[in-house]
C-alpha cells in the first residue's frame, strides 16, 4: 500500500470515526443520523433475516436489464449512426444538449402512459444510460485508425465481420468509458425512479422507511446501496486501469 493510499484510508476512517463519535456523544441526535456502527449492524440483521431479498432481486434485476439494454442498444445505434454521416450531423446537436436537460422529469409522464409498473423504470433508466453509450461508440469509431479499415477491405471482410473483428477491439477503450457511464447512469436513474414513485424496490424501501421514521432500516438500506454502487464502480475502474496498463505495456 502506498503512502497516499494509507492517508486516504486514514481520512475515510477519520470521517466515519468523527461521525460515530458525534452520534455517540449526542452532538448529532439519534433521530437525525444513527452511528455508522449501528447502520452496519442493522444492515447485517436485515441481510441475514432475508427480509430484503425480494427487493434486492427486483432492483438489481431491473438495473441489470437497464444496463444490458443500454449497452447493446447504444452500441448498435452508435454503429448505425456512425455509418450514416448525414443522420449523425442532424442528431449531434441533440446529443450535445441531451445530458444538459433533466430527462428524468419525464418519469411521471411515463408512469401516466404505462402505469405503475417496472416498465417506466426500465424506460427512464435506458433513456438516461443509452445516449452515453451511443456517444462513446461514435467517439470510439472515430478513433479507429483508417489503416484498419483498409486491412478489412484488403481481406474482403463484410460489414459485420469488420465491426466485430476490427472496429470493436480498436474502439474498446472508448466503448468501456461508455459502459462505465451507462452503469453509473443506469444505477442512478433506477434508484431515483424507485425512490420517487414505484410499487416496490430498494429505492421505495428507503422512501418508506423515511416516512415511517424507521431510521435504523433507512440507514441500513442507504448503506447497502452506497456500498453496492461503490463496489461496482471500483471494480469497473480497476478493470479499466488494468486494461490501460496492458495496452501501453505491450507497446513500450
Amino acid at each position: 500500500m502506498t503512502r497516499v493510499g494509507l492517508i486516504r484510508i486514514a481520512v475515510i476512517a477519520a470521517a466515519f470515526g468523527a461521525l460515530e463519535l458525534a452520534c455517540r456523544l449526542g452532538f448529532i441526535k439519534h433521530q437525525v443520523i444513527i452511528p455508522p456502527s449501528e447502520m452496519a449492524t442493522a444492515l447485517y440483521g436485515l441481510l441475514v433475516s432475508g427480509a430484503l431479498n425480494a427487493d434486492i432481486q427486483r432492483t438489481l434485476g431491473i438495473i441489470a436489464i437497464v444496463i444490458a439494454v443500454s449497452i447493446v442498444l447504444g452500441f448498435i445505434l452508435g454503429l448505425v449512426i456512425h455509418a450514416l454521416p448525414r443522420v449523425r450531423e442532424a442528431i449531434e446537436p441533440f446529443f450535445a444538449t441531451y445530458y444538459a436537460v433533466p430527462i428524468f422529469i419525464f418519469y411521471p409522464v411515463l408512469i401516466a402512459i404505462f402505469g405503475l409498473s417496472p416498465i417506466p423504470i426500465v424506460l427512464i433508466g435506458v433513456a438516461t444510460a443509452v445516449v452515453a453509450m451511443i456517444i462513446a461508440t461514435l467517439t470510439g469509431l472515430d478513433r479507429v485508425p483508417p489503416v484498419l479499415t483498409k486491412v478489412a477491405r484488403v481481406h474482403r471482410l463484410g460489414k459485420i465481420a469488420t465491426a466485430l473483428t476490427l472496429q470493436l477491439p480498436a474502439a474498446a477503450p472508448y466503448l468501456f468509458t461508455g459502459v462505465k457511464l451507462s452503469v453509473s447512469y443506469g444505477f442512478i436513474a433506477v434508484i431515483a425512479a424507485e425512490f420517487i414513485l414505484s410499487p416496490a424496490g430498494l429505492g421505495r424501501d428507503i422512501s418508506d422507511a423515511y416516512t415511517d421514521f424507521n431510521n435504523r432500516r433507512m440507514y441500513a438500506l442507504i448503506l447497502f446501496l452506497l456500498l453496492i454502487a461503490t463496489i461496482i464502480n471500483s471494480a469497473l475502474h480497476a478493470l479499466d486501469v488494468r486494461w490501460a496498463e496492458r495496452r501501453t505495456g505491450g507497446r513500450s
Binding site: 450531423e89 401516466a112 428507503i206 422512501s207 423515511y210 433507512m218 454502487a229
Partner: protein, 247 residues
C-alpha cells in the same frame, strides 16, 4: 450550403420527434399523453398564470441558491486539491467515487438534517453540483504550466494573489466547463428534491399533476424546464468556446 443543409436536417429530426410524440399520443390516449399541438396552446395559456409563476419562482430561487453554494464550495475544494499535490492525490479517488453514487439515496438524510423547506432542496441541489465543479477545477489547476507558478513565486505574490491573478485566469476555460456541468446537475438535483418532497416548485408541480392525471400540465412543465436547460446550456457552451479561443 452545407450549413443550411445541416439546419434543415436538424429540423427534420425535430419534426420526427414531434411525429413520434403524436404517434405515442394516439397509442396512449389523450389522458396519458396530450398531442403536441394542444400542449403548445396549453403552454401559451399556462405560463402566464399565477400558479405557474409561483412554482417557477420557488424553483428558480432554490436553484440559484444551490448553484451559488455549489460553485463556492466546488471552487474552493478544486483549488485546494489542485494546488496541494498530496491532498489532490488523496482526495481525487474519494471525490470520483462520491460523484458516481446515486445521491438520491442521501436525500432523506438531507431532509432530516435541514428540514422540508427550501434549505433541504438547496443543499441537495448543491450536493450534486459541488463534485463536477471541484473535479474539473482540480484538473484545470493541475494542468497549469509550472512556469506560471514559479513566476508567481519570483514576484512574491501572496497565496491569495496567486489564486486570483495566476491560477484562476490560466485555468478559466476548463473551470468554466465544470461550472457548466455543475449548472446542469444542480438543476437536476433541485428538481429531484422537489419531486420527492416539496409543496412548491416545478418538480412538485409535476408530481401533483401526475396524481391528478393532469397530463397536459405535466408535459408543459417538462417542456418549459427542457427549454430553460437547453437554452442556458447553449449560452454556457458559447461562452466556453469563446474562453477556449482566447487562451
Amino acid at each position: 450550403m452545407t450549413a443550411t443543409r445541416r439546419v434543415t436536417d436538424t429540423l427534420i429530426v425535430f419534426a420526427l420527434i414531434l411525429l413520434v410524440w403524436q404517434i405515442l399520443h394516439q397509442i396512449a390516449g389523450a389522458t396519458a399523453l396530450p398531442a403536441p399541438l394542444p400542449t403548445m396552446t396549453y403552454l401559451v395559456h399556462m405560463v402566464p398564470t399565477a400558479r405557474f409563476a409561483e412554482n417557477a419562482a420557488a424553483t428558480l430561487k432554490a436553484f440559484s441558491l444551490a448553484l451559488m453554494t455549489a460553485y463556492a464550495i466546488g471552487l474552493a475544494i478544486g483549488v485546494w486539491l489542485g494546488a496541494h499535490r498530496l491532498s489532490g492525490a488523496v482526495g481525487e479517488p474519494i471525490l470520483v467515487v462520491i460523484y458516481s453514487l446515486p445521491k438520491i439515496t442521501l436525500y432523506p438524510v438531507v431532509l432530516l438534517i435541514f428540514g422540508l423547506g427550501i434549505s433541504g432542496k438547496v443543499v441537495f441541489g448543491a450536493m450534486h453540483g459541488v463534485l463536477p465543479v471541484a473535479l474539473l477545477t482540480m484538473g484545470a489547476i493541475r494542468a497549469i504550466p509550472p512556469v506560471y507558478l514559479r513566476s508567481a513565486q519570483i514576484l512574491h505574490l501572496s497565496p491569495w494573489q496567486t489564486i486570483t491573478t495566476v491560477l484562476l485566469p490560466a485555468a478559466l476555460p476548463e473551470v468554466f466547463t465544470g461550472l457548466r456541468i455543475g449548472f446542469t446537475v444542480t438543476l437536476l438535483g433541485v428538481l429531484l428534491g422537489e419531486m420527492f418532497a416539496s409543496k412548491l416548485g416545478l418538480g412538485s408541480m409535476i408530481m401533483a399533476d401526475m396524481s391528478l392525471a393532469q397530463s397536459e400540465d405535466m408535459v408543459t412543465v417538462a417542456i418549459v424546464l427542457f427549454a430553460f436547460a437547453a437554452i442556458a446550456n447553449a449560452v454556457l457552451i458559447w461562452i466556453e468556446h469563446r474562453l477556449h479561443r482566447k487562451v
